[in-house]
Symmetry: C2
Subunit: 239 residues, 2 copies
């Protein structure tokens, strides 16, 4: 989410290769030079692809090659992530006799701030191209996004305060986790405040998080209360 008060990131950590192979992997990667740049990557999709992309991006750091720690702006970072993604997917898909049978694709969110620029957020597609969030569309989701989208659409504007936006992100994940087994705890949270040039706040929400537990319960009970208070259709005839 691109808020006036900062960039707010949230990711779950469940991966699955069928219901027999469910495990936990953090989907948030931080590239940071405090005072100069703070970049957060979130990934969804094929885990082998995303791990290879991130390893490739990390290996380039310190080399002569263009990389996330030397690029002049966040647009260039998104382009680097896109190029790495496209290249890894093409490599794996090209080696398959039946390329269609495995989905190697993945998506990335690339957000943060580099000294001299405003905070920016990009969504990078498996094809390597990307789009940037604007005031009209101040947030992006990747992965299993539909169940949790309605509440974000209702709440998030650039002017939304961080605490309210974070509450919204957690309610959104709650909806998704209730309806879809491929999304699960723990949730990773990161905040990059404007002009801080560092990750201002990080937190991991796991099963024992008392606040998240009470939020889920309060939201569930509140939804039921609102639902129960709404009138029944006046045109319904039961006989």
């Amino acid at each position: 989410m691109t808020l006036d008060a900062g960039l707010l990131f949230a990711s779950d950590s469940r991966t699955n290769a069928g219901v027999d192979h469910i495990s936990t992997f953090c989907k948030m990667s931080v590239f940071e030079a405090p005072g100069e740049r703070a970049i957060v990557l979130l990934n969804s999709g094929n885990l082998a692809t995303t791990q290879t992309v991130i390893s490739t991006l990390r290996k380039a750091i310190g080399s002569e090659r263009p990389n996330l720690m030397t690029s002049g702006g966040l647009f260039d970072c998104a382009a680097l992530v896109g190029e790495a993604t496209r290249s890894v997917i093409a490599h794996h898909a090209g080696q398959q006799a039946q390329a269609g049978s495995v989905d190697f694709s993945c998506s990335f969110l690339v957000g943060g701030q580099i000294a001299g620029e405003r905070p920016r957020l990009f969504l990078v597609y498996p094809e390597g191209n990307f789009i940037e969030a604007t005031d009209d569309t101040p947030y992006f989701q990747i992965g299993e996004s539909k169940y949790g989208k309605p509440i974000i659409d209702r709440v998030i504007k650039p002017s939304t305060p961080v605490d309210e936006a974070l509450k919204c992100a957690l309610v959104s994940f709650d909806s998704t986790m209730r309806s879809n087994l491929s999304v699960g705890l723990p949730l990773d949270i990161a905040l990059v405040r404007p002009n801080a040039m560092r990750v201002t706040f990080r937190h991991r929400v796991d099963v024992g998080d008392a606040y998240f537990g009470s939020l889920r319960q309060g939201w569930s009970q509140g939804l039921r209360r609102v639902f129960n208070e709404l009138p029944s259709p006046d045109w319904l005839q039961l006989d």
Copy 2:
């Protein structure tokens, strides 16, 4: 929805073949012999396929062939719908040089009651096979289902009264219509009460429906109120 108080059906009526080709088609078909049987079909997916399937099913009525008005039970009706679906899809897909480029698939819900049986509800897949709703899973959705699923999961049980279930279906459609352009008004509603052997109630919800308008507004305001009342994360540190 399979409720103790009856089978409740709801469908939207938007179809699209790209954003330039949006039109309105009812996705609900009724096959009824009052006092003996009442069968409701809902369809999603490729419109050419679903129209051909329904025309095929209607043409069979009055002939010697097995059909929806003579079948001994609703299981056989689901099998007829499945066989017609599989056959139409195979016909169209088989005629294409590039079969993969067009999605001819569709799904059906087949519900109702035939004299001598209890009320039953089936979901028929594009492959022609089908599953039946049970007390554990008393509802099915087809088409664009994710946005609207969470509220149904929270509310619907077999014991849910009809007016509450209908309110839930309308709230569910509201969520979907807010987030997805491929679902739109009018909504068609049908109710088949147990042992009535007829469609007990039908209604079309269109733009001017005052109740639906107030429901959408009440739900939206209620959600915001509940959301605003929930506490912010106590572990969030902004500096």
